[in-house]
């Protein structure tokens, strides 16, 4: 079982990376990756919300949408579950530590509108996983998202110090770097073929 879970994690985090293979969450990928530390903060917040909301999505799918034939309400229902998970996280962090809330609260509103969160929830349904598999899949997908965010932020910090031709300065060099990173991640797809 552990072997299967490890394979599931590698597949979700690297081979089918949510940002560079499925092209989800590109808004935060370009917007919150100017500094490594803010990328880490956003990545961890997103990881927590995706993992928590995946549990809610799994329960809603198994006990509500499938038994009552309400599959056509899946997208709307999952958005509601995600918004609830973000609100829950915000409330809990405010309760657990007001100081933490002041430090980290900035990232939470951004997650509600991150399409990677909904994308992972819909992938869970397509995968027909059991509870632990779906939670681990969501965790690994968001870990892959965080990995890419931090890697890209590190690259952008170095590019900021480099001499870039004026034509490519700013967002253009960011997009060129992102495409090269996506090409590099395509190398992981060879793992599944061999």
């Amino acid at each position: 079982m552990i072997h299967d879970l490890i394979l599931l994690m590698v597949g979700a985090a690297l081979v089918n990376n949510v940002v560079l293979a499925r092209f989800l969450g590109l808004c935060s990928f370009m917007g919150v990756t100017t500094k490594v530390d803010t990328a880490v903060g956003m990545g961890m917040a997103t990881t927590f919300v995706i993992t928590v909301s995946s549990m809610g999505d799994w329960a809603v799918e198994k006990f509500l949408l499938v038994p009552f034939g309400l599959g056509y309400l899946r997208t709307v229902t999952f958005i509601l579950v995600i918004a609830g998970a973000v609100q829950f996280t915000e409330m809990v962090i405010r309760k657990v530590s007001p100081a933490l809330f002041q430090t980290l609260g900035i990232y939470l509103p951004l997650i509600t509108t991150n399409c990677a969160v909904l994308g992972v929830a819909l992938l869970l349904v397509a995968g027909k996983y059991n509870f632990i598999e779906s939670t681990v899949f969501a965790f690994a997908s968001s870990l892959g998202y965080s990995l890419v965010m931090v890697t890209f932020a590190g690259l952008r910090e170095r590019i900021a110090l480099a001499e870039v031709p004026p034509l490519f300065a700013g967002p253009p060099i960011g997009f060129v770097t992102a495409s090269l990173l996506a090409l590099a991640f395509m190398g992981f797809s060879g793992i599944s073929a061999n």
């Binding site: 079982m1 552990i2 879970l5 808004c27 935060s28 917007g31 919150v32 500094k35 530390d37 803010t38 880490v40 903060g41 961890m44 917040a45 990881t47 927590f48 993992t51 928590v52 549990m55 329960a59 198994k62 809990v92 962090i93 405010r94 657990v96 530590s97 007001p98 100081a99 933490l100 809330f101 002041q102 430090t103 980290l104 609260g105 900035i106 509103p109 951004l110 509600t112 509108t113 059991n130 509870f131 632990i132 939670t135 681990v136 965790f139």
Partner: protein
């Protein structure tokens, strides 16, 4: 040091209350008024007000630059999100490994989450007592204009 803008919204004795300016991940657009980033904007900012000792004679309405050390942000993230995630997944996977069904595994995962949040609370209290996790005044930013 990670820097951000805040505005002085109140002054009581030797303490000023600061309201951080919210930045968005996008540059905002023509549809900003209907965007999820701006929903509940005022309430969220009011909830994030925090006190600071008024050692620099700050006045209401003044904009200041506040900062927090990079290491503190990482420690805060690890405490608030990392710790509950580890205990949650650990409890769920252990339950499934021991042969539990989906229901028991889900209960164990939720139990792990609750335990992790409790540990996070204890660690956050300890960090707060040490003076970590609190933004510090860096310099004045001038009146008016939009931050970001």
């Amino acid at each position: 040091m990670i820097e951000g803008f805040a505005r002085v919204v109140a002054e009581e004795g030797g303490v000023v209350w600061l309201e951080p300016e919210q930045t968005a991940s996008c540059g905002t657009c023509m549809s900003a008024s209907a965007c999820g980033h701006n929903a509940d904007h005022g309430r969220r900012l009011a909830a994030r007000r925090f006190p600071l000792a008024n050692d620099h004679d700050l006045a209401v309405g003044e904009r200041v630059v506040i900062g927090i050390a990079e290491g503190e942000l990482l420690r805060a993230s690890a405490t608030a999100y990392g710790l509950p995630l580890v205990t949650m997944l650990g409890a769920g996977i252990t339950a499934q490994f021991l042969g539990a069904g989906d229901g028991i595994a889900a209960a164990a995962t939720l139990g792990g989450l609750a335990g992790g949040l409790l540990l996070a609370r204890l660690r956050a209290n300890r960090l707060s007592r040490q003076g970590a996790l609190t933004p510090r005044f860096l310099r004045r930013a001038g009146f008016g204009g939009c931050g970001g």
